[in-house]
């Protein structure tokens, strides 16, 4: 028999992951949302703070939202101090996560290139690289010939519509296998005695003054000492129940995957001007993200013209992709905020914490925000890494405007 194709399969999952418990009547902490952020928060509550009387409520299946739908890019080369701080803290955790979780999450630090196609792209890129260096984030500016060395298949010829003028490069950036990450956190949380409750949709909250006393669900009312909302695109559905206004809008964000291909793409490439971001995942499939659909949508699907435009950009920048095949398309629901930065921390309710607005940054922030949110819950004080991302920055005007500064999405 021929040997198996190297790389074309994945490590086995463990023989046991978690059990499906019946919800108890009461928990010290109830985390709403069984995605990456909720599960990571549960893990660090137990690991760092010994808080284990915790329930994670998931309306569907664990890790089934954006966690299962994103393109798994992990990087920390954001412009502003506040952003690079949380994402770099997260990246450092990623670097030890396989060990921490005892799970083969396939974190692969293959680097990320953010291409520049216009003189303004170049200015913005240099600005970001210089800021990253001063913040201790690995970053460099590459000229086109250096870009070609890092990723030979990028079209660096000067006669294309928007020639590559250079790129920022973060060598420590990379990708991981999203399901493995979610399940790694879930298994650890389960082992710590935390209840992971699936098919449990929150239908309302019982409140007394400025406190939430219980969470009403399709599986009964659950009393809660502290509540953390980690519902990403569905955050507004929950905050509407609480009468809290949150400045997030939920949009479809599509992604797609090709068939398995021999290794051709050694890194991660992102381009804003020619909108494309692509990596070649562990089995050999090309994983790509498309643009955010313009309108609000909870449908986990988008319009196909967005995909077509994405393909045009992909073939323009990577001519060798011409006959790769689109195998599957899907969409997540990204919760975007006015300044393209997250909203984490206190709410008008003393015992309710908010975690949303991550837009396209949610996956890469998973361990970082889990760590910080667990700390915030445990101490009743925002962790330094999330402190800047308050809800009331929109009132004071102290935004952390990542798209204003041409931050690279995703």
């Amino acid at each position: 028999m021929n040997p198996r194709t190297p790389g074309a399969d994945l490590p086995e999952h463990p023989d046991f992951l978690w059990r499906d418990p019946e919800p108890k009547r009461s928990y010290d902490v109830v985390i709403v949302g069984g995605g990456g952020h909720g599960l990571a928060t549960a893990h660090y509550l137990a690991k760092n703070h010994g808080i284990t009387n915790v329930a994670v409520l998931e309306k569907g299946w664990l890790g089934g939202g954006n966690m299962a739908r994103n393109t798994t890019i992990i990087r920390s080369n954001y412009l502003w101090d506040e952003s690079s701080a949380i994402y770099e803290a997260s990246l450092k955790l990623w670097e030890g996560l396989e060990e921490d979780l005892g799970y083969p999450i396939l974190f692969s630090q293959r680097g990320v290139l953010n291409l520049a196609h216009t003189l303004q792209d170049v200015r913005d890129s240099v600005r970001r690289v210089e800021a990253n260096k001063l913040n201790g984030v690995d970053a460099e500016w590459l000229e086109p010939d250096e870009v070609r060395k890092v990723c030979p298949i990028v079209n660096t010829s000067t006669d294309i519509r928007y020639p590559v003028l250079g790129a920022t490069y973060q060598p420590r950036a990379g990708i991981a296998k999203h399901d493995y990450v979610a399940w790694g956190f879930a298994r650890r949380a389960h082992e710590a005695g935390i209840d992971l409750i699936q098919d449990c949709e929150v239908t309302g909250f019982a409140t007394e003054g400025n406190r939430v006393t219980g969470v009403q669900t399709t599986r009964g009312t659950i009393a809660a000492g502290t509540v953390a909302l980690c519902a990403a695109g569905h955050t507004s559905v929950l905050t509407d129940m609480l009468g809290i206004r949150v400045p997030v809008q939920s949009h479809p964000l599509q992604a797609l995957v090709s068939e398995l291909l021999e290794p051709v793409h050694p890194t991660v490439v992102m381009s804003n001007a020619v909108h494309v971001y692509v990596s070649q995942a562990h089995k050999g499939e090309l994983v790509m993200g498309a643009g955010v659909d313009s309108y609000n949508g909870y449908g986990q699907r988008g319009a196909f013209h967005v995909i077509e435009r994405q393909m045009a950009a992909a073939v323009e920048l990577f001519p060798v992709f011409a006959r790769a095949h689109l195998l599957r398309t899907w969409a997540g629901i990204v919760d975007t905020s006015p300044d393209a930065s997250p909203i984490v921390g206190r709410t008008p309710y003393d015992n309710v914490y908010l975690n949303c607005g991550w837009g396209t940054g949610g996956f890469k922030a998973t361990p970082g925000v889990g760590w910080a949110l667990a700390h915030t819950i445990a101490h009743g004080e925002p962790h330094a890494n999330v402190a800047p991302f308050t809800l009331d920055r929109f009132v004071t005007g102290a935004l952390v405007d990542e798209h204003g500064a041409a931050a690279v999405a995703h």
Binding site: R4, A8, W61, K133, L134, E308, H403, A405
Partner: protein
Amino acid sequence: MTSPFRTAEGGRIDRGTTLEFTFDGQTHTGHPGDTLASALLASGRHQVATSVKLGRPRGIAAAWAEDPGGLVQIEEPFPEPMLLATTVELHDGLVAHGLPGQGRLAEISDSARYDAVHHHVDVLVVGAGPAGLTAALTAARSGARVALVDEQSEAGGSLLGGTDRLDDAPALEWVAAAVAELAGHPEVLHLQRTTAFGSYDDGFVLALERRTDHLGTAAPRHVSRQRVWRLRARSVVVATGAHERPVVFADNDRPGTMLAGAARTFLHRYGVLPGRQAVVFTTNDSAYDAALDLHRAGVAVEAVVDARPAGSPRREECERAGIRVLSGAVVTATQGVERVTHALVAPFVDGQVGAGSAIACDLLLVSGGWNPAVHLFSQARGRLRYDEALGAFLPAEELDRLSVTGAAAGVLDLAGCLADGQRVARAALTALAVAPPGEDRLPTAPEPVVPAAPLVLWRVPDTSGADGNTSFVDLQRDATVADIARAVGAGLRSIEHIKRYTTIGTAHDQGKTSGVLASGITAELLGVPVQATGTTTFRPPYTPVAFAALAGRDRGRLFDPERVTSLHDWHVAAGAVFEDVGQWKRPRHYPRPGEDMETAVLRECAAARTGVGILDGSTLGKIDVQGPDAAVLLDRLYTNMMSSLKVGSVRYGVMCGVDGMVIDDGTVLRLAEDRFLLLTTTGGAAKVLDWMEEWAQTEWPDLRVHCTSVTEQWNTFPVVGPRSRDVIGALFPQVDVANEAFPFMTWRDTALDGVPVRLARISFSGELAFEVYVNPWYGVAVWERLLEAGRPYGITPYGTETMHVLRAEKGYPIIGQDTDGTVTPHDLGMAWAVSKKKPDFVGKRSFARQANQDPLRKQLVGLLPVDRRTVLPEGSQIVELHPDGQLPPPPVPMLGHVTSSYRSAELARPFALALVKGGRSRIGDTVHVPVNGTLVPAEVTGSVLVDPEGARRDG
């Protein structure tokens, strides 16, 4: 090589022509009409590849897109990864090989053409089988606009693989007549080799037409290889048939194991015997046709193994033919190495497997029932229900504009499909208020033998001792019953988790045969109804589509429009180096032979500062604003007062978003009491017009004002420099260009040879300057006249780079370069442009927010590198002065960044503009700018470095 398994006659191949192709390095032959798979089978080859994970031999198991076995890599005529041998039409010179797992992309770029076409119809029928053809005929006969698309090379669907008869003649004669009739209807579009791969809202269906693939190297290059049809139908009829489902048992992946229906297709359509000695294992009646047909074709059918205790009414037929029928029995495993040699058959009573025996065979046909191809229905968000009797998922609801018919709707007999296709088409027409045709006769199909109820059997209990580790559910992923059992044992309940744990359904075929099996087996293991387990979501595309096909013609030059001014050809001829500004191509500089950009720009700057230069500023956005309330609208949208501007005068203005951040700036010419001409930034033109219209339409509909884009209506040529007055004076003698007669920030209308020209004293450089506005019809002519008039003064065309240097020396910001969406007019030092008089304007309220009062807001200032040599890279960050010249360890606090930086001919040193925290209060300070590892000291200055007193603008 010969084709020993080719039948003597029959099939829909052109035996008169022989094609040569190469597979795994071996040369084979076939005929037009063959697929790569049928040609390989004809040569006796079943194994195509080895499996991705376990390296087990895998062969052709089906006849079309549902085949989980036969993945190939195409090498010639052009490398293409991972196609199914069953869907590759054979052509001369085809070179391919089996694919163990990963496909290979060509190193060279694909020169084939691809395109997309929009097409609108009343009724779109997907699938040209019996139901689809009938539906298409009914729709066509009503005179409606119809499209019929089918993925195969010819119409007929399941009829191509059978011996059915209609109107007492071979059914394919009816197919031919139907196709001919459709061709006669002018409003019918009939496309074969066209796969509907995506179904979206409002009757939008995407289909991929493979136009030239089957022609191989003979494909004409000016015709697109593949075409995406963007079909917009008022009503969609899905007649996509059904996929036969296997039953899972030990070593069910061994080559020679094939779906029963596929064997019939290979026999009848391609004239190929898939084996010599067959065992047929079934849970339903349909496989009996395969047994009988193969028997008639000379295959020794050793046994029909029917899992149903009562067997089938067709048993007698088989026994008359001398075929042994074992009812209440199953195939438990296969034997063989690279090809089936034996099927292990055992009695099957109450779900228990008894002692078995081996039956020799080189072909094992399997039928576990049929899965309706509900993909397009499900993609359109139709709900599915599990049908206990069929053991399959069926449409559970009627969708607006989309209906399902025939086998796709669970109708599995020919007469039923014909009637259903007609019924659905007539219903669709009625819903569209189109009168269904009067004359719409259906062909008569023979009465079908009433079939016995099928048995729903997902898997045969594994008695091989392998514990389900060789009972394959998803062959492409090497995923087995044991894997599902492990997933369930791990605590997983959701089919989505099971899919991710086992990777079932994630491969090339996206679970066409494995999806429902996985649901069934999972439900069994969990002890829940299949309905509760459900399926994973069906997502587009139905079958894989090449990236290039989706990119279509939006590649190369057509990837994104290139916008140019009427002078573009002149710029090219003048040797300009261009810069992309939005979609515009703008000359960045005009190097002379031997000049690099730096020298060219220094020369161009010197000309503008000491003599005269000329710029093509035509890309600036221009908006004509008219109406009695025009001034009111401008007062509300600009931070400064525009209503007080006098007719004949010009004013610079700034616009902010509601958040108080600068979004655009430019000059405003008041043409009349009720008319203004606005100039915007090049990149901001569309945005500003949209912005103005949005406010005017949605917020202040009472205002009597109209905005019209006139960006391309006017060429704009700034003539800049101390000698500009001489040039303008010379070309327009009728205009009094004296400062008193024609002061700064005013405009005058004049004409040149009868062509109206507008002159405006606007300066973006601080120098004496005149902007010349003219209809672009005459742009080149006027530009050349200006050059002519300027020759005595050495008039020098300059580009955006010089424009930037000149404006930066004067501290004029470029919105989007010196601002980033977080900058207010005050931050730019433009409080003077923010009206104190106006009660309100868009953005004003935000200025009062706490963060806007912060003394440490970033402000625009100048930076002068102390060494007078270093050109600070734009984007550089600024830090406090570190006297020891060493940076402390990170994080190092940052003060701001360099937004613009140039070498100045005028200052004879480099300079920069920067946004610096509390910048204006730091003027005079020295800060550090890290540049490639060294700290460059720079002095913070005011932002206006040249002619701060503004003495030059009047010449």
